[in-house]
């Protein structure tokens, strides 16, 4: 849950990037990190294996600026996508304010996407959250590759509830900031409602 500090006039929120292994969650964060002004970001932390697979999480703190005298800070996390790291994934979802599901658009990854999305629902439920009530965005990543499914196909499998969705290519940065802005906005709207 977001942390509101009246003493230092800050609001802190947590965004988690979820998705199957090698779908581009870390690449999303790396692009945000590269393109953000130094004064608006903290250090990016990656707890990864020697082959650069995420082992526990990536972490990137961002400051977006002020709203009504309150500094808004977003903490971006990724989960390890590989199936057997499920215990770690559950931990990272604790206290989440918004979720980005990064889907791998390639045909051969559709089963992995579906499995990961089901896993997200289950793990959120264990923490007492309902995905349908959380600020939630779907990103179709790797749109630049040749063997991708159409957005309509992906939508029918991965986004039946029609939450905001974005096409992306995280390596070039296409759609990365659009995704981030959309989820941040949903979180702030939720805060406005006083949830």
């Amino acid at each position: 849950m977001s942390f509101i500090n009246y003493a230092s006039r800050e609001i802190n929120c947590k965004i988690v990037y979820y998705g199957p292994g090698l779908c581009g969650k870390t690449t999303n964060l790396q692009f945000v990190y590269q393109k953000t002004a130094p004064d608006a970001k903290g250090k990016m932390i990656s707890l990864a294996t020697e082959t650069e697979r995420t082992l526990f999480f990536d972490f990137l703190p961002l400051s977006l600026g002020e709203i009504r005298g309150f500094k808004t800070r977003f903490h971006l996390y990724t989960v390890p996508g590989q199936v057997f790291y499920d215990a770690s994934r559950k931990l990272i979802l604790k206290g989440v304010d918004g979720v980005v599901f990064v889907a791998d658009s390639q045909e051969e990854r559709i089963d992995a996407n579906i499995e990961s999305l089901e896993n997200l629902r289950i793990n959120l439920k264990e923490q007492g959250y309902d995905l349908d009530k959380l600020p939630y965005i779907v990103q179709y990543n790797k749109r630049d590759l040749p063997n991708v499914m159409t957005v309509e196909e992906l939508r029918s499998e991965l986004n039946p509830t029609n939450v905001p969705e974005f096409e992306a290519c995280a390596t070039t940065g296409e759609g990365v900031f659009e995704t981030l802005k959309a989820v941040a906005k949903l979180i702030l709207i939720d805060l406005k409602k006083g949830k």
Binding site: F3, S8, K14, H75, L91, K94, Q127, G194
Partner: protein, 163 residues
């Protein structure tokens, strides 16, 4: 939701800083941090400017979450104290009131025994303050969110953040 929202007010923030400020002196520590279990830094005293406090908070919370997961696997509720020994500096990490994490960084000028002793006393004081804080938040919630600063923000305010 599993955890109610954490809201910090000036009064309690001051009380918390008094407690950890005193602990810093009594335990002869270098730095002390208070971190929410979700990884948000609540406060810090001592030589805080020497450290990347945001990263420290996030990794501490990750550490506590991971050891908490280990604890459950072996049938424990949680491991309430963690101790990391380095060549020069050491970290004493403990859970306060089941909700926040107290991190004490100390070197050879102090000792594990002293830190443990002082932390125990301060933990009780901090628990009381956080309980009070939670009650206050709950009461405000019951009365409605009218005092909430974000209730009045407009869509334009939000859009301006991204311009």
């Amino acid at each position: 939701m599993s955890n109610p929202q954490l809201v910090m007010y000036d009064e309690e923030f001051q009380e918390i800083n008094d407690v950890i400020g005193r602990l810093l002196k009594e335990a002869n520590a270098k730095v002390i941090f208070l971190v929410d279990k979700n990884g948000q830094l609540i406060s810090g005293v001592g030589e805080t400017e020497r450290f990347d406090t945001t990263s420290l908070a996030s990794l501490t919370a990750g550490n506590i979450a991971a050891t908490g997961g280990l604890a459950k696997l072996i049938g424990e509720k949680e491991f309430s104290i963690l101790f990391h020994e380095g060549e020069k500096d050491n970290l004493h990490i403990s859970i306060v009131g089941g909700r926040v994490i107290l991190v004490v960084l100390f070197d050879g000028r102090s000792s594990l025994g002293l830190v443990r002793l002082r932390v125990k006393k301060s933990s009780e004081e901090l628990s009381t303050i956080f309980e009070k804080l939670m009650k206050k938040s709950e009461e405000r919630e019951k009365r409605g969110s009218s005092e909430f600063p974000f209730a009045e923000i407009t869509d334009d305010d939000i859009d301006n953040l991204f311009s």
